[in-house]
């Protein structure tokens, strides 16, 4: 069974929700969880919930990097922070993968400090999953978008590598035999988007064994045209935040409408079960977290606001990724490039 190191102190609701998530995972799976953080705090939380101690170990460290801290300064000064210790334990082979809901910048820096990139990979990419429409039965309801912030600008080769990494991850985790891979661009024509995107498009078309469907535009993101969407970090981050912001606005608008008129309120109440299903679909806690791809060790970065359910699912995703050999799959895909 894989061992997953979990940064117990990282996240808006850490350590409470992180530890509860680990407790749930210990009852539902055979995955070994290695909690890194303040032992006394962790045990006090475990004492209050149902858990299976046989699948949980604790590695004590007292330092924590806060969500609002400057990542560079914190990583430099807090050498025994939970995220750094967790990453080190993975790098030394005491665990197979890392899950953190903590400060994203610190997580990326910790990974850069302890993990090597897969041979041939030029830059690691932070991926994120988001819900969208499906076009055919059996299509995954979540699409993978990368990079969403590990890089700012990329060249064509790096985008091609992102596509290969995303393709391998989707094949293993989503179990989509041949995921549709697309480049996010300002037009569907292969001449659009400037030299980098044109060049990347040309290279991706030549890769055998990858279902490259060309460019997609922003309005296609919510449709099922692609399963893996590739872009550089600056653009990916803007898209991700836009999607999150839109979801919040829709919920807010519905609330306002309900307050405006009783008939609208009645209509919303009748649609409640439908909204419930929509909420389940868009609930980040259902998919746990997103991977940092391109490193020799699997890292799942969970949302900062992760609750116990999100952490439990992040552990399951990490366990699945380790069992199914996601990093090996990426490695062999990059070798073939």
């Amino acid at each position: 069974m894989p061992t997953i190191a979990i940064d117990a102190m990282g996240g808006d609701f850490a350590p409470e929700e992180i530890v509860k998530g680990v407790a749930h995972a210990s009852l539902e799976t055979e995955i070994e969880s290695l909690l890194v953080g303040d032992e006394r705090q962790i045990q006090a939380i475990l004492d209050g919930v149902a858990y299976n101690p046989e699948h949980i170990s604790i590695h004590h460290t007292g330092e924590v990097i806060g969500m609002a801290e400057d990542p560079k300064a914190a990583v430099r000064h807090k050498r025994h922070a939970s995220i750094l210790v967790a990453a080190r334990l993975v790098a030394e082979g005491h665990a197979d993968a890392l899950v953190t809901a903590g400060n994203t910048g610190a997580a990326v820096l910790a990974c850069a400090q302890y993990f090597k990139t897969i041979r041939g990979v030029r830059k690691a990419a932070l991926a994120s999953v988001y819900p969208r429409q499906t076009e055919y039965p059996g299509q995954d309801q979540l699409a993978l978008l990368l990079d969403v912030g590990a890089t700012i600008r990329c060249d064509a080769t790096e985008l091609v590598q992102f596509a290969l990494m995303g393709n391998a991850y989707a094949r293993k985790i989503s179990k989509v035999a041949s995921p549709r891979v697309a480049l996010l661009n300002m037009g569907t024509e292969d001449t659009k988007g400037g030299d980098v995107l044109v060049h990347a498009h040309r290279q991706l078309k030549t890769i055998t064994g990858m279902n490259f469907v060309g460019n997609i535009e922003g309005n296609d993101l919510a449709k099922g045209k692609a399963d893996v969407i590739v872009c550089e970090g600056l653009l990916g981050n803007v898209v991700l935040k836009l999607l999150e912001g839109l979801a919040e606005v829709v919920v807010d608008l519905a609330g306002t409408a309900a307050r405006e008129h009783w008939r609208w309120k009645l209509g919303l109440m009748m649609l409640a079960s439908g909204f419930g299903r929509l909420r389940d679909l868009t609930d980040y806690s259902a998919y746990g977290g997103a991977p940092i791809l391109g490193l020799q060790n699997l890292v799942i970065k969970s949302h900062g606001r992760s609750n116990a359910r999100a952490i439990k699912n992040a552990i399951k995703v990490a366990g699945k990724g380790v069992r199914d050999g996601v990093t090996q799959e990426i490695s062999s895909a990059i070798e073939q490039l």
Partner: protein, 348 residues
Amino acid sequence: MSAMRRNKSRAPKPPRPVVYRWDLDKTYLRSDFDSLRELVRIPFEKPEDKVAVPGVAPLIRNLRKTATDRGRTVRVFFISASPPQISKAIKEKLTLDGIEYDGIVFKNQLHYLVRGKFRGLREQVGFKLTELLKSHRDVPADSEELLFGDDWESDPLIYSLYADIVAGRIQNEELGQVLRAIGVDPPLVVAAQDLCTDMQCSDVVAKIFINLERRTPPTNFRSFGTRLVPAFNYFQTAACLYDSGHLTLDAVAEVATSLVTGSSYTPLRLANSLADIVRRGHLREPSAAAVRHHLSPLGLMPQRQRPAAQPPWWQRVLSWFTSTPEEQPVADQAIDYQALVTQWRVTR
């Protein structure tokens, strides 16, 4: 004459007899009566079909052996809320497992069925408490007692009540109030009070071990005090019993081996269990270290150790500034049973 008297007073005191009292269902046997179908199947089960909780059989065998080797008189009793109609299969199962016992009590469910007292079928407190008190009269007054139950029914409450009654901490009047609050059959309340009258009181119950078969959060048992040890598996129980001198390290190793060979436990799972019971304050670190040291060469502990984030001395210094203050162990206070019954009923 005076020399003879001096010699007599110097003669070594015989070791205290020890009594182990075990619940049967969910503590010894992995009885599945979660559904009606499973409940109906139980009477028809053959002894070889019955499954013991992992590690329990070698634990009981070694408790008897260790006590005997140390010259202690030992008695093992079982108490079960199952009807006597299935006693034959259970007794044969115990024999199959090599368990020697000195007594076994079953609940006469038919008695309640005939009287139409269906509530009595489920109510265990009155039945078990009176049976424990009856059995207590038959063992030497200076015996040390250890009780084993589970978190399915009311074992923590029954055992704690029993321990405090025999220690003289609960008087008849309070006992009556508590049992009535629980809803015990009135004749059983009277019977329990009668058994308490003229009892030679002594604080004989050393520990109560509760097998967390349902994974009940350990905090739920805090009100029962440190005498009660909630344990997630019988390796944790065995380690605690080594700590208290009731088992040898070889016996702990035998329990661990049975878990690894018979129940797909791994050295890592055993190590995690050991660390958990230490963190919860029921096992002292030197004893845990001795267990680790003994089990490692046998391949029952992980060979590779994780390095500490910082040297231990530095961790201790850092923890003064960065960690939450450690809870100081508090001396056990008398259990407020009235409050406990209310709280216990809510959590059930």
